[in-house]
């Protein structure tokens, strides 16, 4: 058993209002430099829609992630030898047209223009060529709130598997938001795709990073990541990606996207896992079993055996304690209400999503007379088709989506019953049985999902520096290695 700690995130989609505050705070700190104008380490997509870059879920085109052939894992885009043969041109890489051409506006025109007949206009100006753009064709969130219309929606790769009838009839239109960052996977295909070995997973917290000294700009990570969360900086000619705000998490602070989240949808915590089981867990035959097999690699942080082994392997008390209080452990592993994004890519992603409850398709008449179990069929008539959620979160397994939605519904009904009466009826109900939960568990869930304060939502142990013998000299220096001020060095 090789125990490793992983800093992971849960996003509770029910609370996401699609305001893009996370994207903007991330952008302003990490990707507002030349070469990264088109880069969004964090972005929020309206679903259904094509996403960013366009159709990133289309694995036939970008060939990201892993596939199972004869029981063994292979990179979908081909192994090292075929990558070396294709090193002069990367056929699977998205280009700027798949992202968008970033632009700014000629604001000086508003200040400086002579008085005239017409109102001065700030024309869009490309940040790539520096030339005026007559008509921007696509941008980040061009299809926000379904404004891409049928053109964008029908190109959503998740629709290919769905029946035609639930697509886009006006009365049945549905919408949800999907905020995305790097998944910091347990089995990252970007790391395996890097010819230079520049991408790596940090041993102590599982954050996936790019070594900027080792990166030679071969760009296989871009298509190799099925979530398309590794980007090419055209100024430095190197790969860049979400770094989970490690200078902040090392100090015990949440990432910027989490800190600034208006809906407080994000939770950060530590999970312990067995690194020896990762390969086997990613190699199960049926993609629908990947969710369960992914759960099987995690270790119970309360198990004395696990605690003993973890300490032997250099995980200290504060990290184990954080793993015990981890909101991620509770939501993803204990209550199983958070699901991984596209488990079928076999990367074992570490950003989890609580699927959104949505309005019920048909109006429930006489809700006051409805018995508790009357809500069970209602769950099956949610406005967002269960098949659609399943194609994003559970490799098309609608049973898991239904299980989570039932649990979330039961939680709401329980809280309502506590106020207006009917807790006893709920306790005996089929709903509680089908949701496989208890009233006590539901109340714990409510605490974390609805009331939890900052310290409960973000349980992040500080990065360990006690082994450095020159801490006195390091004080006041920046935690980003090599960029520290010279006075912070011996």
């Amino acid at each position: 058993m090789r125990i490793k700690a992983q800093v992971a995130m849960v996003m509770h989609l029910d609370k996401c209002i699609g305001c893009h505050t996370c994207s903007v705070s991330c952008k302003n700190v990490w990707t507002n430099r030349p070469g990264t104008e088109y880069v969004w380490f964090n972005n929020v997509e309206t679903r259904p829609g094509v996403g960013y870059p366009k159709e990133w879920e289309n694995t036939d085109r970008y060939k990201g992630g892993w596939v199972l052939r004869n029981g063994k894992l292979h990179l979908r885009a081909g192994g090292p030898v075929s990558k070396l043969a294709n090193i002069f041109y990367n056929p699977n890489m998205a280009d700027l047209n798949d992202f968008y051409e970033p632009w700014t506006y000629d604001f000086q025109q508003l200040h400086k223009r002579e008085k005239g007949e017409s109102i001065p206009v700030a024309r869009p100006k490309s940040m790539i060529t520096g030339k005026y753009m007559d008509k921007p064709q696509w941008g980040p969130n061009w299809d926000d709130d379904l404004a891409g219309g049928t053109e964008s929606v029908s190109n959503d790769p998740n629709f290919r598997k769905l029946q035609e009838h639930i697509k886009l009839e006006y009365e049945k239109t549905f919408m949800m938001y999907l905020p995305r960052i790097c998944e910091h996977c347990l089995n990252p295909s970007c790391v395996a795709s890097c010819p230079s070995g520049a991408l790596y997973k940090r041993d102590e917290d599982g954050i996936v990073l790019v070594d900027q000294d080792a990166c030679r700009g071969w760009r296989f990570c871009m298509g190799g990541c099925p979530y398309h969360k590794v980007y090419y900086n055209w100024n430095t000619h190197k790969a860049e990606k979400c770094n989970f705000c490690y200078p902040r998490t090392e100090a015990g602070l949440p990432t910027l996207c989490s800190e600034s989240c208006v809906g407080r949808i994000r939770y950060i915590g530590v999970v312990l896992y067995d690194a020896d089981q990762v390969k086997a867990a990613a190699s199960v035959e049926d993609p629908k079993d990947l969710y369960e097999s992914q759960l099987s690699v995690f270790l119970d942080p309360f198990d004395p055996e696990v605690i003993k082994k973890a300490q032997e392997q250099g995980i200290n008390h504060s990290w184990i304690q954080s793993a015990q209080e981890s909101p991620v452990y509770k939501m993803a592993i204990k209550w199983k209400i958070a699901l991984p994004l596209h488990p079928e890519y076999r990367t074992l992603p570490m950003v989890w999503y609580v699927p959104p409850l949505s309005p019920i398709m048909h109006h429930i008449a006489n809700e006051q007379d409805l018995s508790v179990d009357g809500y069970i069929p209602a769950v099956d008539q949610m406005r967002i088709p269960m098949e659609y959620l399943a194609s994003i979160l559970t490799a098309d397994d609608t049973h898991q989506i239904r299980r989570v939605l039932l649990k979330m519904t039961a939680m709401r009904i329980h809280m309502r019953a506590k106020t207006v009466g009917g807790v006893d009826e709920l306790k005996k109900s089929q709903l509680l049985k089908e949701a496989n939960t208890t009233a006590e568990e539901l109340e714990e869930m409510v605490r974390l999902l609805a009331v939890a304060k900052y310290n409960e939502r973000f349980v992040i142990p500080t990065g360990r520096r006690e082994m450095l013998d020159d801490l006195y000299f390091m004080q006041g220096s920046c935690s980003i290695e090599d960029l520290a001020p010279p006075e912070g060095r011996k």
Binding site: G79, I87, F88, Y89, T129, R216, W234, G314, N316, G463
Partner: protein
């Protein structure tokens, strides 16, 4: 002919300096993100062409004539192979370079991000490769096959022993001399251009484990 050691010294010293002290600039500066279709033709044709051309130079200049004779390869067969193979490789290199150069003018996104160094590299390569291809395909078939394995080959190998036999070069046609001069100037320019990426071909990639774990600098698990 005294400047050849200088060129190689510049290549090694400046290359070492850049790798050690300007390491973050040691990249393959791709513009694929701006344009893909022309790059596919230009880059692939050029790179495979230049690998063939490199192997051709090894066969023609590094491997002594006696080895071919010992293997029973007749001079006429050798020259036929050299003209056909070398000509094809040379054409690939030149065509690839011309496509890549045209691409730089054709697409505004690519044009905006091409530096003087980028143009210099492409133009110099076109000069060297164009001359080489001309010598292989046209000179050899019209003026006459030149047996460089008796003059340029031994001279080039003598450079490695640091006792250059410059006398061998006296009778060499001027075109060949210009080709050699331009090439050595190009070698000296390598550390200052994008060409450094040729030394970073990741040949060790197939040998390493797919997943890489690394600890932060100074992280010690014993504590």
């Amino acid at each position: 002919m005294d400047h050849f050691p200088l060129c190689i010294t510049v290549l090694i010293v400046a290359g070492f300096y850049r790798f050690m002290f300007r390491g973050k600039s040691w990249v393959a500066p791709s513009t694929e993100i701006f344009e893909k279709r022309w790059l596919r033709i230009g880059s692939v044709v050029f790179h495979y062409g230049i690998i063939f051309a490199f192997m051709g130079h090894v066969m023609g200049v590094l491997i002594p004539m006696e080895v071919y004779h010992a293997l029973g390869v007749s001079d006429s067969l050798y020259h036929f192979m050299a003209i056909a193979g070398g000509g094809l490789a040379g054409l690939m290199v030149v065509i690839g370079l011309v496509v890549m150069l045209t691409r730089k003018f054709l697409f505004p996104r690519v044009h905006a991000h091409t530096t003087g160094g980028g143009y210099f590299t492409l133009l110099w390569l076109i000069l060297v490769a164009g001359l080489g291809t001309y010598m292989t395909l046209i000179y050899n078939t019209t003026v006459g096959e030149y047996e460089y394995r008796e003059s340029i080959g031994p001279w080039f190998r003598s450079l490695f022993t640091l006792s250059p036999r410059s006398d061998l070069m006296l009778e060499v046609p001027i075109l060949f001399k210009v080709h050699i001069l331009l090439s050595f100037a190009l070698f000296a320019a390598i550390p200052f251009t994008r060409l450094v990426h040729m030394f970073s071909l990741p040949v060790r990639y197939p040998m390493r484990a797919p997943q890489q774990y690394r600890s932060r600098d100074g992280f010690d698990k014993k504590y």
